[in-house]
């Protein structure tokens, strides 16, 4: 049993649930600058990939994980067997394990309904905006409301921008090649996720293998290529030099 949080009398810090929630909302707002265009684009390209409009909008609340929703739309358009789709979405979202582990300590005394709610809202952006407050701020009783504030703000922004994209996308002609924005979104996310040379090698290996593996049945090529990419990244890690 870990020690209970020590109460730190800090007269300048307002720890009402309301104050924590709105501090979280304010911390999340700048991140919406990047998320709202992504939501619009997802709405547009979800239609372009062949999903019906209601499914595009519904995936934003059911799955609620942007890049995996793009993958979902893309695989659906390619008539992929459902088990392969679920496995692929799972692999794309595996990184959330790290976020879950990072916030677990701060949420351990909460009731289950809070754990479920905050787990559902635990996205890249909600985590990024809240982890500083959780880790370094005063360990007060209502700090989980801060995470609720970041999570809810992102959730609302994502739902509305997806809906906007679907309404917009219905008006955009097919020969604008907007499906290419899928690749462009992934290129941007890839560059953001490459910090070492071995990260880039993982991506290159997976890219080469996926083209060779296109002949594999049931769209399994993606999973095979990701596996080879991860293995090659781990192998090339020894040539990175001493980086954190």
């Amino acid at each position: 049993m870990a020690a209970l949080p020590i109460f730190q009398p800090d007269l300048m810090f307002d720890d009402t649930p309301r104050a924590e929630f709105f501090a979280g909302v304010r911390a999340e707002l700048p991140l919406l600058l990047g998320v709202v265009p992504f939501g619009l684009i997802f709405g547009v390209l979800g239609l372009a990939a062949g999903l019906p409009g209601w499914a595009v909008v519904l995936s934003s609340s059911l799955v609620f994980a942007g890049s995996s929703q793009v993958v979902f739309a893309q695989l659906w358009g390619g008539a992929t067997p459902p088990p392969v789709m679920v496995a692929t979405v799972g692999v794309v979202n595996l990184r959330h394990l790290l976020y879950s582990a990072a916030v677990a300590d701060f949420l351990r005394n909460l009731p289950w309904r809070w754990k479920f709610l905050l787990a559902y809202l635990l996205t890249d952006e909600a985590f990024a905006a809240a982890i500083g407050r959780l880790r370094d701020g005063p360990p007060t009783a209502h700090r989980h409301f801060f995470l609720l504030g970041t999570g809810f703000t992102l959730w609302a922004g994502w739902q509305l921008s997806t809906l906007g994209g679907v309404l917009l996308g219905a008006a955009i002609p097919e020969n604008w090649s907007l499906d290419f924005s899928i690749a462009l979104t992934f290129i941007a996310l890839l560059v953001l996720s490459v910090h070492r040379r071995s990260d880039a090698w993982a991506a290159i290996a997976a890219a080469v293998v996926v083209l060779l593996a296109l002949a594999l049945p049931h769209k399994l090529g993606l999973l095979v290529a990701a596996g080879v990419g991860i293995a090659f990244g781990l192998f090339m890690r020894r040539f990175d030099g001493k980086k954190p």
Partner: protein
């Protein structure tokens, strides 16, 4: 495929995603203290993204186009450069789409 299959598949994807996010919050407090796990997880995003990008560039209309006159290849390189320079998703998408439109001719 039918609406039911679409709904069920999407629900299953949502459930898997939710369980990944719930994992440590519900059942444990820390990652096992093993650097190999963190090393493994670090290569998941670049590997999966590399695997997603390549077919979008080289497979056009169901056919492989790995030649140098593939406009998507050059537009992707422009996007890669802009992503490196700006770290902005929006700037990357704008530059890549603009490059593609210039290279393949505006549709109208």
């Amino acid at each position: 495929m039918s609406t039911t299959v679409l709904l069920l598949t999407m629900a299953a994807c949502g459930l898997v995603t939710f369980l990944i996010r719930l994992s440590f919050i519900a059942f444990g407090h820390h990652l096992p203290d093993d650097p190999r796990i963190e090393a493994f997880l670090r290569y998941v995003p670049p590997a999966i993204l590399g695997a997603l990008i390549a077919p979008e560039i080289f497979m056009v209309g169901g056919n492989m186009n790995a030649s140098l006159d593939n406009p998507r290849l050059w537009a992707a390189l422009v996007a890669l450069l802009v992503a490196r320079l700006t770290s902005s998703v929006l700037a990357t998408i704008s530059a890549g789409m603009a490059a593609l439109w210039v290279l393949q001719g505006w549709p109208y």
